[in-house]
Symmetry: C2
Subunit: 322 residues, 2 copies
């Protein structure tokens, strides 16, 4: 099995590579080769039982895409994208990378004629606007950002390229990933990891919303487990819509902090400063959090059992040593 992760240098790409290295197989076959491709050279994978190539790839450039999407590749993870705030600030970059970049990958796969499995990461940012709660499998995609729009278009392309037999595609709308390792970023959702990660690391963090703010979460560990399973679902079980929510769970800020306290004791929560930030609130309160991912649950994808698990996964997988 020859696997390519486009966006292999990101948090999800790196964790997925680690899981593939530990598992050693995908779709019932031993992995013979893994390629991590990203705009900058991705970090290699430790202790992989198969050769790993790290390479640069700019999905906005069809020639660059052709160097990593080759006829040997059987499973392509298409994770590369510029994030929400970036695509909102730089419309052209979002169209070029998120829309045309995805199309370049699909067109290259089509040109090869090898019908690879393509696993596409969409986002719950495809939901928004005037649609009734709860969000069901058959709810209209009404994105209110360019990022969400470009992801929704990617989903339509994944479906049509699959229907035409060019690829065997699947798309999963990722919940907000928490506890995300590393540093805060400029995403409006950044605090949903920071208020846990920083205190667990003994540092202060700011919570810009009230404690009753609800959102839809998934741990990084479950996310990559689901991406692995997502490649393994038999095509015939996907039906006439190959894109679906990835399971997550709705929790309030109070619940995620209580989970941290239950796992790590009372000290971390004391490091949270409550400081209302109206601009952050304006953005995140437009998001949807009441999602019912029936289809993906039926197909064997899973959410975290409790937010205590999310905290434990962070401590086990990501907390810096020392």
């Amino acid at each position: 099995m020859n696997v390519l992760i486009i966006g292999g240098g990101g948090v999800v790409g790196q964790k997925l590579a680690g899981l593939l290295a530990r598992t050693g197989s995908l779709r019932g076959q031993p992995i013979g080769h893994l390629t991590l491709a990203d705009l900058n050279d991705p970090a290699p994978v430790a202790d992989a039982p198969f050769p790993v190539t790290c390479t640069r790839c700019d999905i906005a450039d069809p020639v660059s895409v052709a160097t990593c999407v080759t006829e040997e590749v059987q499973v392509i993870y298409l994770l590369a994208a510029i994030v929400s705030a970036h695509a909102e600030e730089d419309f052209d970059a979002g169209m070029r990378i998120n829309l045309m970049g995805s199309l370049n990958v699909l067109e290259r796969a089509r040109a090869l004629g090898t019908k690879p499995v393509v696993v596409f990461t969409s986002s719950i940012a495809v939901y928004g606007g005037e649609v009734p709660d709860p969000i069901l499998d058959h709810t209209y995609l009404n994105p209110q950002t360019s990022y969400g729009t470009q992801k929704a278009i990617g989903e339509l392309l994944i479906n049509d390229y699959s229907r035409k037999g060019f690829i065997d595609g699947r798309g999963f709308r990722l919940p907000t990933i928490s506890v995300r390792p590393g540093k805060p970023n400029r995403a409006a959702s950044s605090f949903m990891s920071s208020i846990l990660r920083e205190p667990l690391n003994g540092q202060e963090a700011i919570c810009p919303v009230d404690e009753d703010f609800p959102h839809y979460y998934l741990s990084p560990r479950k996310c990559v487990e689901n991406l692995m399973k997502g490649a393994e679902i038999p095509a015939e079980e996907l039906g006439q819509n190959r894109c679906m929510m990835m399971p997550g769970r709705m929790w309030t800020i109070r619940q995620v902090i209580d989970a941290m306290t239950a796992v790590a004791g009372p000290e971390p929560a004391k490091l949270i400063r409550w400081e209302a930030q109206p601009e952050i609130q304006r953005i995140v309160k437009g998001w949807r959090f009441d999602l019912r991912p029936e289809k993906s649950l039926k197909l064997g994808l899973t959410a975290d059992a409790s937010f205590e698990d999310n905290i434990r996964y962070y401590l086990e997988d990501d907390k810096p040593v020392g």
Copy 2:
């Protein structure tokens, strides 16, 4: 008011041009100029009270688009597309014309910075697959053709370009248009006009489905009235989703034939030969017909009051003389 119809040579474009000529105004202002653009020179409009320019435009070519989408244009009707069967046979042509062509028009409008009104014709072909009946305003778009996929992508772009303030866009999903004037075409839905038009013209026609086959119809006359109203809806009433069903009505084959008999007497129906065509049935039975266009009805768009009206409109507007 300066109006451009891209796809001005087609049945809908020509009828819309005729309605604009008879009305003389749009969005409360007298029309000062109308441009009909199409791949081939569109026919001119008779008796227009304003100058009409007929021009060639290939929306797949950004340079060609720039020649007709100019800074003077205030309302753009984007009707041009290759139809379902064509886009299914020639995937590249569908992507080039229906997807990239629409994008070329939007990008040109964005570059001008004039924020024109853009009225986009989508199709009920965006519906399909595993979604529950009836189809509501918030039902997932699950197209099962490349044409439907490309139209659904056009809708997402219309929404996002409008949200960003690049255009003032609106999209309407057209029902099957009947009674369509002219000759049969290769669309699977062609018979839904032929079984009425040919008998009304004294000619035989074949009905390939049972008389209890239901579908969702709109007359050409109502369609262009709705497209005119569609340009006139105040932007603030469109909300966070600028694309919606155009109202139609569900009728069975028996009902549309009975309507013909009620208007034109018993002779035409005798010219229908019943000849089951399994391939046609396979396609059209996958289509959706139970649609509930609440939003567009609220915004003032209308369906035909009865199918007798569709028959009368054909006799008044389109039946060849002699």
